[in-house]
């Protein structure tokens, strides 16, 4: 049976919309009673919980599920305080409604930045506790006893020391007239019954039998199917196209032209793709037509010593350098990356004169809705977004370019139209993680430990476009995150040399965000310094992390589990990296071996993580493994190139990703912690590349400073 009960969904949306229209900003209270069936109206003390008279309790999910296990985690938080079992609940996607479903940390309905759990940990437990207190109050009133003489367990209110017992469903009418309590007390972690214990994912059954509905699976009545060709050149445009060859394909109904793309509409996607392939499209390549990879890399190299905006400035770096010299300098170069989520970009839109409906899987509900309103010119309240499961997000679905394109196309089509991008379109029109270079400069003191650290970061400012509040004086705070290193170095300076991608090439958020840019140079840099100082890389980090107990704790655990001090055969190497991201702390140790042919193999990755209070330990393991595979894939293969103002690669043949046969055993160890929960979707990714590079150095004596890893010749020097 489905956890996403579709019949319920329609009802709930209506109710929620009514609820929303009655409440202004701020806390949400109940819903307008249902006119016809008031007696069986579910009890809804807030926007997250609905308790019906009979049957399962519905939890409404404020964050989107893209694999990270958030639905299960949110259900666990609600169930903990509501005192119900996970088998007593059914889940529902929240509609676009930031007033009710905004992430408290982000102030908007966004699932990203590993903030899902962090933002809602308290909010969800309070929602559960509020409902529980109201149900207890209702039972106590009915029984004529004090609420203190009652408790909640497994979906019932029971009289402590008495024999009376009432199912939540039997109390809903009475509970609805109780006052909504403010400042509800929350359970101490020591009495958690659900949180912190391994739980099976609630979305597993649908995902193993094919019934789970992703955005690409939306099939509203009367839907037609479109294939799209977007101008391959950045900022290019459609010049002309003769539609006849597509129209001759059986099932094709229409060729849609918009400024930057052509779409072929048919009664199935296969016919649409066939029709699109039959077209010869004349593109105007626009002003970026001559942009090439070598030119882009040359510009990045030039920016290394160009102007930069200061960010962190501690101590006196110049003086320390003058006093201690020599100054060691390392430059690290990182490539352009795609997200390549398994579900290619797609979006279904129905534009009518009086409204617009959108079916999509998005990480950013409110912007999705706004985008459709902007393109159609309809008022926001006339736009309904039906969110779906996401076939991977990784930051790609934090942008709404696909929704804008689909809506532009849908304006010319009668009835709903599903626009499905080919993999080639998906790779050639991503919001890329752009080229990112780092120059690290350091001086060592007499004990071999660094006394000065400069880090210049060269790359675009994604936040300037995407979240301007996350910039300061022109510095992109995400881009600079962690550039100063976590290490105790008395004199530190970081600066930002902003260098944007060519016009029309969209850059965006990529799993692990700032840390994926800065952890590799920091962790490789510190390894190079340890080598110069002649100190073991574990010991070196240990000495510099005494002020960071959580990071140090993760490091010690990883080192112990990996057997850092045990001897290695010739041709093998181990490398360390630590990463701090979104309130979590991870240490990673990679073990590699180099074959006689000079190619390397990752034998094992050991990761220890302190992510504060664990909600579902099973999810932590899965998410760290996931982040590691994502990082490994990028470290080995991630590199997109540009020629003639267009992305060259197009599919998994020329833009390969990691497969099972290349995936090493990945061990995950959790550092027990009672701190606030940290994000776990991203912290596994940034440390992989530097841990590998450091391991390759140990095995071969070669320092690679460019990603992806060049495997052509790693024979020992």
């Amino acid at each position: 049976m489905s956890i996403f009960d579709r019949a319920n969904l329609a009802v709930s949306r209506r109710q929620l919309l009514i609820g929303a229209s009655l409440t202004g900003a701020g806390l949400v209270i109940g819903f307008k009673p249902h006119a016809v069936a008031a007696a069986s109206e579910p009890f809804a003390p807030n926007a997250f919980i609905r308790i019906p008279q009979e049957g399962k309790i519905t939890f409404v999910m404020p964050s989107v599920e893209m694999g990270q296990g958030i639905y299960t985690a949110v259900a666990m938080m609600l169930a903990e305080e509501l005192e119900v079992g996970l088998d007593q609940v059914t889940l529902e996607h929240a509609p676009a409604d930031p007033k009710q479903y905004a992430n408290p940390l982000l102030g908007d309905q966004i699932t990203g930045g590993s903030l899902a759990i962090r933002g809602i940990y308290e909010q969800m437990r309070k929602a559960g506790a509020t409902a529980r207190i109201m149900l207890i109050a209702a039972a106590a009133r009915e029984w004529g006893v004090s609420p203190d003489a009652c408790k909640a367990e497994a979906g019932h209110v029971v009289e402590t020391g008495g024999s009376r017992r009432a199912a939540y469903g039997s109390l809903i009418t009475a509970a609805a007239s109780e006052v909504v309590p403010q400042d509800v007390p929350l359970k101490p972690a020591s009495s958690y019954r659900v949180i912190g214990k391994p739980a099976h994912r609630l979305d597993s059954p649908e995902k193993v039998n094919g019934t789970a509905k992703f955005g690409i699976d939306a099939r509203p009545d009367g839907v037609s199917y479109a294939a799209i060709a977007i101008c391959p050149h950045f900022n290019g445009k459609l010049r002309a196209v003769d539609e006849a060859p597509a129209m001759a394909v059986k099932g094709v109904t229409q060729v849609v032209r918009i400024e930057e793309a052509v779409a072929v509409v048919a009664d199935n996607t296969g016919a649409a793709r066939k029709g699109l392939a039959a077209l010869s499209i004349d593109w105007d390549p626009g002003p970026s037509a001559s942009v090439s990879q070598s030119e882009l890399e040359r510009q990045m190299d030039a920016a290394i010593d160009g102007k930069a905006l200061p960010h962190v400035n501690e101590g006196d770096v110049a003086r320390a350098e003058a006093e201690h010299g020599p100054v060691h300098e390392f430059v690290y170069r990182m490539p352009i990356l795609t997200h390549s989520a398994m579900e290619p970009m797609n979006c279904t839109v129905h534009v009518r004169p009086d409204g617009c409906e959108v079916w999509v899987g998005t990480q950013i509900m409110s912007r999705a809705r706004q985008a459709a309103a902007d393109v159609t010119g309809l008022p926001l309240e006339k736009v309904v977004v039906h969110n779906h499961l996401l076939g991977g997000g990784f930051g790609r679905r934090l942008d709404v370019d696909g929704i804008i394109l689909s809506t532009k196309i849908a304006k010319q089509v009668s009835g709903p139209v599903k626009v499905t991008w080919s993999r080639e379109e998906d790779i050639r029109h991503d919001c890329y993680r752009y080229l990112n270079y780092s120059k690290v400069t350091a001086t060592l003191g007499p004990d071999g430990l660094p006394v000065s650290w400069r880090h210049r970061v060269i790359g675009p400012s994604v936040m300037a476009r995407w979240l301007p509040a996350f910039t300061k004086d022109g510095v992109d705070l995400d881009q600079m995150g962690g550039a100063e290193s976590p290490y105790a170095i008395p004199n530190r300076q970081t600066d930002f040399a902003r260098h944007e991608a060519p016009d029309g090439m969209l850059t965006g958020n990529w799993r692990g965000v700032g840390a994926t840019r800065n952890v590799p140079p920091v962790e490789c840099g510190i390894d190079e310094l340890a080598e110069l100082a002649g100190i073991d890389p574990l010991d070196y980090r240990r000495r510099l992390l005494q002020h960071k107990p959580r990071l140090l704790g993760a490091l010690e655990l990883a080192a112990e589990k990996a057997g850092w001090s045990s001897p290695l055969e010739k041709g093998k190497g181990r490398g360390i990296a630590v990463a701090e991201d979104f309130g979590s702390f991870a240490a990673m140790i990679a073990e590699v071996s180099i074959g006689a042919d000079g190619r390397f193999k990752t034998d094992r990755i050991v990761c220890a993580v302190d992510c504060g209070q664990v909600i579902n330990p099973d999810t932590v393991e899965a998410q760290i493994q996931s982040g590691v595979v994502y990082g490994l894939s990028a470290a080995l293969y991630g590199r997109i190139t540009v020629e003639n103002g267009a992305v060259v690669e197009g599919n998994f043949d020329d833009a390969p990703v990691l497969r099972i046969n290349e995936t090493p055993p990945i061990e995950v160890h959790i550092v027990p912690s009672a701190e606030a929960p940290g994000g776990i979707g991203e912290v596994g990714t940034p440390g992989v590349a530097p841990a590998l590079l450091n391991a390759i150095f140990m095995a071969t004596g070669k320092r690679l400073r460019t990603l992806p890893i060049d495997q052509t010749d790693l024979r020992r020097v």
């Binding site: 094919g210 001759a248 076939g391 894939s633």
Partner: protein, 163 residues
């Protein structure tokens, strides 16, 4: 308009497909990949699109009991042969075992690749009751998972092989 002319322009009869034991007559060009007929024409959306060039395995179905990539198998080639998709794979003993192991180990993350993973793993188990790590690599390397569920896929196949 031209649509009427395009329809049936090839003068062919509809193709007869047998999917999960049910028959469907579909009126599409013979070279349309089975994938789109399953998803759009018949409405079985459990089979997924990932690459369209047989590089990712998301679209894996069984035809005549063997795993094929439905994104490159034309509907004319699939006609008149039994096709099994993720929606019915649980009716086979191996499919049932694989799905149960997937649940026991909680393999899925975003879940998008998992229909294809399960179809490939089921075919593997049907052909090889006790697959080694190398056997698993050889078959499952055709299925990409961007969420990195590979360690659990390996573990779940081994679990299913025990049961």
């Amino acid at each position: 308009m031209e649509r009427g002319a395009a329809l049936g322009a090839d003068g062919r009869m509809p193709y007869n497909l047998t999917v999960n034991g049910k028959s469907y007559a579909v009126d599409v060009d013979g070279d349309i990949p089975l994938l789109w007929v399953l998803r759009d024409t018949i409405g079985l959306t459990g089979t997924k699109f990932g690459c369209g060039i047989a590089m990712c395995g998301a679209c894996t179905v069984h035809v005549d009991g063997l795993p094929v990539r439905s994104c490159i198998l034309s509907v004319s080639e699939a006609a008149e042969k039994p096709v099994t998709t993720i929606e019915a794979i649980g009716d086979t003993p191996e499919g049932r075992k694989i799905q149960q192991a997937w649940l026991d180990i909680d393999v899925v993350q975003c879940g998008y690749c998992q229909s294809g993973q399960i179809m490939s793993a089921t075919a593997l188990l049907a052909a090889n009751a006790k697959p080694s790590d190398d056997d698993i690599d050889a078959v499952m390397a055709g299925n990409i998972c961007r969420c990195g569920t590979y360690p659990r896929i390996r573990a779940a196949i081994k679990l299913a092989a025990q049961g």
